[in-house]
């Protein structure tokens, strides 16, 4: 690659990152705007952060979101890991069917799954709420966990397991003491993916939520449809900062490890 080319690419990439961050920076900047309607910049204030912290609905929505995310992550990871093991290592009659059903949520638009679930709950007269949201989240998380864990199992060296079994360990002990620790990074990656998917999910939650079961994305969507005060900016800024800090910390921890 010639220097001119690489310079051109560098500039292009630079512009790209500018384009990527400009909206977010503007968003953050305007969270300090004194003007309630947030159309033009009027002055600097921290008022909206006060409003945000006092906002009971935001707190409730955050709690709901985290509760759903934690529950669905734990369940989906467990079920998904087992499924990955089954698909990667065993031959059994229902194999093809299982594999297909696990791939479907990944390749269909979320809205189809959303309305499907809504129709299911409505037909069965199940009350919409945090429970239905959680059940739905688990449903779309399992395939992703399975996918990630399978990728990790691919090319997994089974000789360690065989050695353990030769030494007299039964299958369960082998699994717990040998297999699991070795696939743990993959399992954790899957768990983390499930957590993120649940935390961020809007479309499926949109169709399956009920009274008092508002999650943060749904709440933000509601806010976006009305008069948007800088409080939404403040909420967004806090959200972005949290993510930034989290990813930064993880990078630090990881580089310390290696």
């Amino acid at each position: 690659m010639t220097t001119r080319h690489s310079q051109g690419l560098a500039v292009f990439t630079g512009l790209f990152y500018l384009y990527l961050y400009l909206p977010i920076l503007v968003l953050v900047a305007f969270s300090f705007n004194t003007q309630r309607l947030n159309l033009t910049w009027e002055g600097f204030t921290l008022h909206w952060y006060d409003v945000l912290l006092a906002d009971a609905k935001v707190g409730a929505a955050t709690r709901n979101t985290l509760a759903v995310a934690l529950t669905s992550t734990i369940t989906a990871t467990a079920i998904g890991t087992l499924a990955a093991l089954a698909l990667q290592r065993y031959e059994f009659g229902l194999r093809r069917f299982s594999e297909t059903s696990l791939y479907i949520p990944i390749v269909i638009p979320e809205i189809v799954m959303g309305i499907g679930l809504l129709s299911l709950y409505a037909t069965l007269k199940i009350s919409l709420g945090l429970t239905t949201i959680t059940l739905s989240h688990i449903a779309f998380s399992i395939p992703f966990v399975a996918l990630v864990v399978r990728a990790r199992l691919h090319g997994f060296d089974r000789s360690l397991e065989e050695a353990a079994m030769d030494l007299g360990a039964n299958e369960v002990i082998t699994f717990v003491r040998v297999t699991l620790p070795l696939i743990l990074p993959g399992v954790l990656a899957g768990a983390m993916l499930a957590f993120t998917l649940s935390l961020d999910d809007f479309i499926i939650t949109f169709f399956t939520n009920g009274p008092g079961a508002t999650t943060l994305p749904i709440y933000v969507y509601g806010l976006l449809r009305r008069i948007i005060t800088p409080e939404v900016n403040a909420l967004s800024t806090v959200w972005i900062l949290t993510v930034l800090v989290a990813v930064f910390f993880s990078q630090r921890l990881e580089s310390r490890e290696t």
Binding site: G59, L128, A189, R226, E254
Partner: protein, 399 residues
């Protein structure tokens, strides 16, 4: 790739911790008070909550409201939570059909909803609402009789009034020199691409029917077909349909004119004084929103408590400050007329109920002139023709 994976895992753990911390320190305002004594309590905006009069006995700890967006003052909700120690769950909708869909699909357990007049008779017929126990509603004496006992609910068996108003034309006279005077005027090419309309099939189709000289509640398929074609001519000129907060587009300058409700027009006018509310020559659309109780309401006791408390005169006048529509609650209006207590409005300025009352009475927006009421048209249930209206709406909006 495993680089990113473990990084993300740690990231998520940290995120969870931080998120929990945020959730724990956020939402401090509405901790339901264990003591429900009647000493005055204050909301987070500094409003002093009046005592509950009469105070009702409740055993439930929650109440589930399903209400219109931008329709219940936050102070009222906070006061109820403080005074009764009951948690208020509020879900919102921006179209009657949306509310109806959720209720008839079953599964969503709300205690109170706010149906507009025309959908009440439908909901009653479908068995979705329960009869109100008037003995538990002393608040009923607060209402102006003009808003009671109307055609959609004779004897007020299922509903009590909430707010009323009109749908009419709203214009920013600063950017629109040629102010439209009738619904039909809105088809003029000079307004193309600058209009905001209500995302409401009955109101908008009804308005089109009026321009054709037909009844807003017609069931005649031929007339409806005509209306569909006329509406199809209008839609390309519409910038957006909005029933969540039509005033936003007007204030931000994204739309210059259109069709909206009284409350939105009034609030827009406060921000941008050049915004005017015009009653069209064909007649505006009259409506009234009411409180009703779904048949499977899980907490009727707190629901009745809410109705009585939230619509107390010394509390309900807040509607004039936050969401100014025509107010059927005569007791609240009388209270405001005579009250000089000082509260903050949305801009943080001081204002008294009396000032709000004067503004309310003097504005032709909130205080609908009698001749406009006479000329106005009220939407009613159209029974079997309902799918026709829905279909027209789907087709002209292109989905």
């Amino acid at each position: 790739m495993s680089n990113k994976r473990s990084q993300l895992w740690k990231g998520m753990a940290a995120l969870a911790v931080i998120g929990l911390a945020l959730a724990a320190c956020g939402g401090g305002a509405a901790a339901p008070a264990e003591d429900t004594d009647d000493t005055a309590q204050t909301t987070s905006s500094g409003f002093q909550c009046p005592a509950a009069n009469p105070k009702m006995e409740v055993t439930s700890t929650e109440v589930n409201l399903f209400v219109w967006t931008e329709y219940v003052p936050p102070d009222i909700i906070e006061c109820f939570e403080l005074v009764y120690g009951v948690k208020v769950n509020r879900d919102e909708y921006s179209a009657n059909e949306e509310m109806y869909a959720k209720l008839s699909a079953g599964g969503a357990a709300y205690d109170l909803v706010q149906p507009t007049d025309y959908i009440v008779s439908l909901m009653v017929r479908q068995g979705l609402l329960q009869k109100l126990d008037k003995s538990k509603l002393p608040v009923i004496s607060n209402f102006d009789s003009t808003y009671m006992n109307l055609g959609f609910d004779p004897g007020n068996e299922y509903t009590i009034p909430y707010q009323a108003g009109t749908d009419a034309i709203v214009v920013n006279t600063a950017s629109v020199p040629n102010v439209p005077q009738s619904w039909a005027d809105l088809w003029k090419p000079e307004y193309a691409g600058r209009m905001v309309f209500l995302d409401d099939s009955r109101a908008t189709i009804g308005m089109v029917l009026l321009t054709l000289g037909y009844d807003v509640n017609t069931k005649d398929p031929a007339q409806l077909e005509e209306a569909k074609n006329k509406l199809a001519e209008l839609v390309p000129n519409v910038k957006l349909f909005d029933s969540d907060s039509p005033k936003t587009a007007l204030i931000a300058g994204d739309a210059d004119l259109g069709m909206t409700w009284t409350g939105e027009a009034f609030l827009a006018q406060l921000e941008v004084p050049t915004i005017q509310y015009i009653y069209p020559t064909e007649g505006a659309i009259l409506w009234q929103d009411n409180y009703a109780m779904p048949v499977d309401a899980p907490h009727p006791d707190t629901a009745y408590a809410w109705l009585n408390y939230s619509m107390q005169p010394d509390l309900f006048w807040l509607m004039m400050r936050d969401f100014p529509y025509t107010n059927p609650n005569k007791a609240a209006l009388d209270y405001a007329k005579g009250s000089e207590i000082v509260v903050k409005d949305s801009e943080g300025n001081d204002v008294t109920p009396k000032q709000l009352y004067d503004a309310y009475i003097n504005s032709p927006v909130t205080n609908t002139p009698p001749e406009e009421v006479k000329k106005g048209h009220r939407i009613d249930d159209v029974g079997d023709a309902t799918p026709l209206y829905d279909q027209i709406w789907t087709e002209v909006k292109g989905g």
